[in-house]
């Protein structure tokens, strides 16, 4: 099958078409800079973004980054001069190094739709998903959904120390380390926790090493205290670990998932609010004409992507073209607005479509 070359002009036209669709749904068109101060992005996303984004130097402004995504400048723009509620749409290039997949474009277009509206989060989630589903309706795509909020609620409801819950929450987005932590905090990890403490006590006996560096003795002492607490605290009950495992492995249509989560909530009441939100979102999706009976919900979806999606997450995939990146992705990122707003948080949900991927589907169809 030969695929025609997709020109940049065609991608721009497709992006403009999608943006116009979102404008017709009431979104305000906005423009953002391409060259962004790197510091905020590096602090937010860490080294992962440095590996994937183009960083350059400006003699006056220091490290600058070619826009790796629209989320951060969008939130900043809204926080500095936006009124709520607000709906925005934008279209433009983003730049990503493709070290692992050199055949993918490192400069490509995204068209976004973002909602800053805290009045009814379930309705806002459904609105974004339904608008994307509608914009992509002519293509045969598989939709994936998930909800990081349910995982967070489940972890927050574990019957264990605050330190352990915080450690697990921090690593929700790193499944391998999350699993290692679960094992360490369970009955199977009791020996390991004692070993960790014994090892540190042996270090203490070994005698003084000269103090160097910025990390203080207080910080070291606090960590040792935490290890002592961890060694003596009872393990997380096996029954709760099992419930968490059950949640993590959920992958079924929405109605089935909802009924299973309601069962789990009997033993883990901490997830009740999050399950109710999922229920209201499902209802809102149905009202907007989304076929929720057949919509798949995967509890672990979105765990390995962006750390700042912390609620509803979704993606649209071309099943027949596994070589292509997802056609669209999005989700709720309240936590990101909290970090950028330095305490001031704005409920936010949105997503992006890649017009060039859509065009390759049209061309390859």
């Amino acid at each position: 099958m030969s695929r025609p070359e997709i020109t940049k002009a065609a991608v721009k036209a497709e992006a403009a078409r999608l943006k116009a669709l979102f404008e017709a749904q009431g979104a305000l068109p906005v423009e953002m800079d391409i060259l962004l101060p790197a510091e905020v992005l590096l602090d937010l996303y860490g080294e992962d973004i440095r590996a994937r984004a183009y960083v350059t130097d400006d003699p006056e402004h220091g490290e600058m980054m070619l826009r790796p995504d629209f989320t951060v400048p969008m939130v900043q723009q809204h926080m500095s001069d936006g009124a709520e509620p607000a709906r925005y749409t934008y279209a433009g290039e983003v730049f990503r190094k493709q070290e692992d997949m050199p055949s993918r474009a490192s400069e490509y277009f995204q068209v976004g739709y973002e909602v800053f509206d805290g009045s009814d989060p379930a309705a806002a989630d459904a609105e974004v998903f339904a608008n994307f589903a509608e914009a992509l309706a002519e293509h045969d795509l598989r939709a994936a959904t998930g909800d990081i909020g349910i995982l967070k609620a489940a972890v927050a409801g574990l019957n264990t120390t605050e330190t352990r819950r915080a450690a697990l929450l921090r690593h929700i987005w790193r499944p391998r380390r999350f699993r290692a932590l679960m094992t360490r905090f369970s009955a199977a990890g009791t020996g390991l926790r004692q070993q960790n403490l014994d090892r540190v006590r042996a270090n203490l006996k070994e005698g003084e090493a000269p103090f160097i560096g910025l990390r203080t003795q207080t910080e070291i002492d606090m960590r040792i205290k935490a290890l002592e607490e961890d060694a003596s605290a009872p393990p997380i009950p096996a029954s709760e670990i099992e419930l968490l495992e059950d949640i993590l492995s959920l992958k079924e249509t929405l109605p089935h998932v909802l009924s299973q989560l309601r069962d789990i909530a009997v033993d883990l009441p901490a997830i009740s609010d999050a399950v109710n939100l999922l229920s209201r979102r499902t209802e809102a999706l149905g009202k907007r004409g989304v076929d929720v009976e057949n919509l798949v919900f995967e509890a672990s979806y979105g765990r390995t992507s962006m750390e700042y999606y912390d609620g509803f997450v979704f993606g649209f995939y071309a099943e027949a073209r596994p070589d292509l990146p997802p056609v669209a992705t999005g989700g709720r990122y309240d936590a990101l607005t909290a970090v950028l707003g330095q305490g001031r948080s704005i409920p936010a949900v949105g997503g992006v479509i890649r017009p060039n991927v859509l065009l390759s589907l049209k061309g390859g169809a």
Binding site: L42, D43, G46, E47, D48, R50, A51, E99, D100, P102, A167, R170, H171, R174, R176, R177, F178, A180, N196, R199, V200, N203, L204, E206, E208, A209, P210, F211, I212, G213, L214, R215, E219, I220, M222, R223, I224, A226, L227
Partner: protein, 232 residues
């Protein structure tokens, strides 16, 4: 055509490389004066010696400007994205051994493992308002290693030399660097984390997959490999 062989242009690495080839019947030597960066190959026809800085050899291999090259396996893995697609390891050469390791201040009695480092980084970031800094020149390798092991809340700061001194100078909290004996680390009050090295490096003879290989070049390579008992 002629097969271009890139070798380190000075120091112990050059001497050892010359020795390694001469033990296998190929004599490499500098041409002319001591300071002239060109060389002579005896013992096989059709091979030209190119004297380069060891740190530039990965780039030259990837660009296909040399057909073969001798450099550290650490440099190839750190400098070249998808290195396996660009070069092929003909032979580990058995010298220039060094481990890429992560080291923290010895006074950190609470940190011996990657788990510990990750926990310390989380608390450090919360307290100091920035990510725990790790000084290194091996950005790619360290980033991939931490990603694979789920270490978060750190940042890499570039250090091209005297990396062991950065902690004392307060420009980093920990380091990731190459060490063979650990002597410099100990002298700077650092200890190596108790985990597998990020990479065990040694001088390696690489073949470029990106260079243009004529039939004649391939025959030369086959002959060279036969002399050295290698698979080409």
């Amino acid at each position: 055509m002629v097969v271009k062989l890139g070798v380190p242009s000075k120091g112990r690495l050059m001497d050892k490389t010359f020795e390694w080839f001469s033990e296998r019947g190929v004599t490499l030597s500098r041409a002319g004066a001591e300071r002239e960066y060109s060389g002579v190959v005896d013992g096989i026809e059709g091979v030209e010696l190119v004297m380069l800085s060891a740190s530039e050899i990965p780039r030259e291999l990837a660009a296909g400007r040399i057909h073969m090259g001798v450099t550290g396996s650490d440099l190839v893995r750190d400098k070249l994205a998808s290195w396996e697609n660009k070069v092929y390891e003909l032979a580990p050469m058995g010298f220039g051994h060094a481990d890429l390791i992560i080291a923290v201040p010895k006074c950190w009695t609470d940190v011996d493992t990657l788990d510990d480092l990750d926990a310390a980084a989380a608390a450090f970031r919360a307290r100091h308002g920035f990510r725990l800094r790790i000084a290194t020149k091996y950005h790619h390798l360290i980033r991939e290693y931490f990603k694979a092991h789920g270490v978060a809340d750190y940042q890499l700061v570039d250090s091209q030399g005297a990396t062991e001194g950065t902690v004392k100078n307060l420009t980093a909290e920990a380091i990731a660097d190459i060490t063979s004996t650990g002597e410099t680390l100990r002298a700077n009050h650092l200890k190596i984390l108790n985990c597998d090295p990020v990479h065990r490096s040694q001088a390696t003879l690489f073949k470029s997959r990106m260079a243009h290989w004529t039939d004649e070049d391939r025959a030369t390579l086959a002959e060279l490999c036969r002399m050295m008992g290698l698979d080409d």
